[in-house]
Amino acid sequence: MPAASDAAALDGAAEPKRPSLAARVLTRSGGRRDERGLKQSHFENAGLACVLLLPQLGVLLLFFFIPAVRALIQAFQLVDPFGGSVQWVGLDNLLALFRSAPYWASVQATIVFTAAFAVVTLGVALLFAFAAHHVLRGQNAYKTLILVPYAIAPAIAGIMWGFLFNPNVGPIAYLIHAAGFAWDPLRYAGHAMTLVVLASAWKQVSYCFLFLFAGLLAVPRSILEAAAVDGAGPVRRFVSVALPMLTPTLFFLFVVNLVYGLFETFAVVDATTKGGPAGATTILVYKVYLDGFVSLDLGSSAAQSLILMTLALALTFVQFRFIEQRVRYSV
């Protein structure tokens, strides 16, 4: 995109290592690079800033910090759901998890699910971004179509996929059967996992597509044209020129997908398989729900949330420290 390269050219003298547009979007939350911008627009009156922050902080306190602290406490308790009896049990809840075969099965399912989800989502999004970038007519129509699934509620997406692929009544399952494949996610764990991965990925592809498409637009045309002059075809140009420049975006999206796969896929699982068959798609976040809200085993559920919370913090740390600091590609 000319704008990006122009900006790079203008700033080139003062700041030789200017990241690409996509990378700059990423660094915004990283902080360090934006210090200048922050100083220009910060509030002189600290009191006013505090007042303006209050509503947001209140929301965070009410819906994030208080529940998090309560979960933290409950992880070390054995409580009766009605609140009638509370026993402190130390690490019992956590130790019970490490001894529990279903928990490890859930960990395994989560690893398979999250990895497959991240790879499928990124792969398809990349393919779409590449294709949409090369479409000359009706590019907006394609973009809109690809973005539509993002607007659909996960529960609805889950129900729809569950129905379409239901081996008894689903039209798509019917086509698969007609092709001679014994598709049955109700019986086979692998099929169920495939279904949940596809249903979740279908929604998240839109999000990744948006970033990758923007990233592709930010690749300087001059370099692509130079490659074309050297005889590189569209695929070669994409793989050898555009893709390396997209790596910061890809890394960012990979982490986002890991987080999404780990924590945001409850609704799809609940609507598509309810964690079945025989617990095959009970990923960790769904198990927190099952044990806490269906089984009312609040202590174990809280201990599981604690583990997930630690995992989320670790991933966020990786995102900030490793990816945003080290993986940077400059033009």
Partner: protein, 436 residues
């Protein structure tokens, strides 16, 4: 401006006029009935409210049984609980030990109502009775029965389903092999109830020690050492041979029967309303099949009872007692039975329906009552009193299903199911030991 004043005065006056017409005490009733059954509950509340003018019940649907329990617990902890809450039968021990409830027998005696508890049919009464006193108000009770597609059976050359599992199995295979149906039977949604619990009760097999939990919180699941293992082996064979089909998430197995795809379904007798309204073929229903040498004990109930929560005013409890008294009346029971398909929970209501000739026109409506009243309930067929039953059942179903779907040998799967169920029971014991 003048017209505004006039209209607000008018509004205030009409409000005053409206007030005395309202009942003095209104109590909330949270329930788990949806669809047609939800409408019947609204109608029930309406009937009660119109039957007298002192009290009113407001029925509020809260989703499924699990949702009701979750909302109730959250509300109870926030001291916003309703007076009446509908909890399914497997929540009995959890509710009883919750320290959050008023016992129904005490409530009714305190309010001066004399209810003849012996009038309640045995499988219902024993389920909700502790030390001879009714703990919760029996509300909707059902039991699983076998619904079948008469046309499919006729086409295969049978008049009706056979009475024993081996003969019935042969019929299912015939229906499938003759190409009459691709789905001879559909896997029930609440199969832990029909395939596990009711099988054990009818065949007089112990499900758990301590008289299925009636004698103490230290009961243990023992279904992995009974004839149930053989029955599950049979179910696995049906699944493998595609005699039995799974419905899948979001699809009600009963709907696959009503749609004509599946020839048979084992379902609650409360499915009558849906089958009567939806089935476009000749259908009927019969008793659950039994083993060839079966002792043919009674089946056990499913459904729910009404629990009264602590922390309300004495006026509220008078309203609750009046509502329960209304529920126990024979007229109410007969209406409820006929409108919903649930069984009449009192002998008087059953006799009344019978003398009206109701079962002559609706013969399948009587099957559940006959099956529930078959023989005298004993330790294996009285019902189940096991802690955190909902939680245990998730584990038990997951493990057994893993065996049925071939992920592990069936005996190991059932052993694992019992072991995981026992972990839940020990946890429940521990929580309740800490209460004192």
């Amino acid at each position: 401006m003048r017209s505004l004043i006039r209209s607000s005065v008018f509004a205030a006056l009409s409000l005053c006029a409206a007030l005395p017409a309202r009942a003095t005490t209104t109590v909330e009733f949270w329930h788990a009935m949806s669809g047609a059954l939800g409408e019947r509950v609204d109608e029930l509340a309406d009937r009660f409210n119109k039957s007298q003018s002192d009290y009113a019940v407001r029925a509020i649907a809260k989703g499924g049984y699990d949702d009701v329990v979750n909302s109730m617990i959250a509300a109870y902890r926030a001291k916003q609980q309703p007076a009446i809450v509908q909890v399914n039968e497997r929540g009995f021990l959890t509710m009883l030990n919750s320290n959050a409830i008023m016992l129904t027998a005490e409530l009714m005696a305190g309010a001066g109502y004399k209810i003849d508890w012996s009038n309640f049919i045995a499988p219902v009464a024993t389920y909700y009775t502790q030390n001879g006193a009714m703990m919760a108000m029996p509300f909707n009770s059902s039991t699983p029965i076998l619904f079948y597609n008469v046309d499919h059976f006729k086409a295969a050359g049978f008049d009706a389903p056979a009475a024993t599992w081996p003969d019935f199995e042969a019929q299912l295979y015939a229906i499938s092999q003759k190409g009459i149906s691709k789905c001879a039977m559909v896997y029930p949604a609440d199969w832990e109830w029909s395939f596990l619990e009711n099988y054990s009760a009818i065949e007089d097999q112990p499900y758990a020690t301590k008289k299925n939990g009636f004698d103490g919180l230290d009961a243990e699941y023992v279904f992995n050492k009974t004839r149930l293992v053989g029955h599950m082996g049979r179910v696995k064979k049906w699944l493998d041979d595609r005699i039995l089909e799974l419905a899948g998430q979001g699809i009600n197995p009963g709907q696959l029967f009503i749609g004509g795809q599946c020839s048979t379904v084992i379902n609650s007798t409360a499915a009558h309303a849906a089958v009567e309204a939806g089935a476009k073929f000749k259908w009927s229903a019969t008793l659950l099949p039994v083993e060839a040498d079966s002792p043919k004990k009674n089946s056990t109930i499913g459904g729910a009872a009404l629990w009264t929560l602590k922390g309300k005013s004495s006026e509220d409890y008078k309203a609750v007692a009046a509502f329960y008294n209304f529920l126990a009346k024979t007229d109410t029971q007969v209406w409820w039975h006929q409108a919903t398909g649930y069984v009449p929970v009192t002998h008087a209501a059953y006799e009344a329906a019978k003398s009206q000739g109701y079962y002559k026109d609706h013969p399948t409506r009587e099957i559940a009552v006959q099956q529930l009243n078959r023989g005298t309930p004993n330790d294996n067929s009285r019902g189940f009193r096991l802690g955190n039953s909902a939680q245990a059942n998730i584990a038990i179903k997951d493990e057994i299903l893993a065996g049925l779907l071939g992920q592990k040998p069936i005996q190991k799967a059932i052993d694992d199911a019992a072991a995981r169920g026992n972990e839940v029971l020990r946890q429940f014991e521990k929580v309740n030991a800490g209460r004192k």
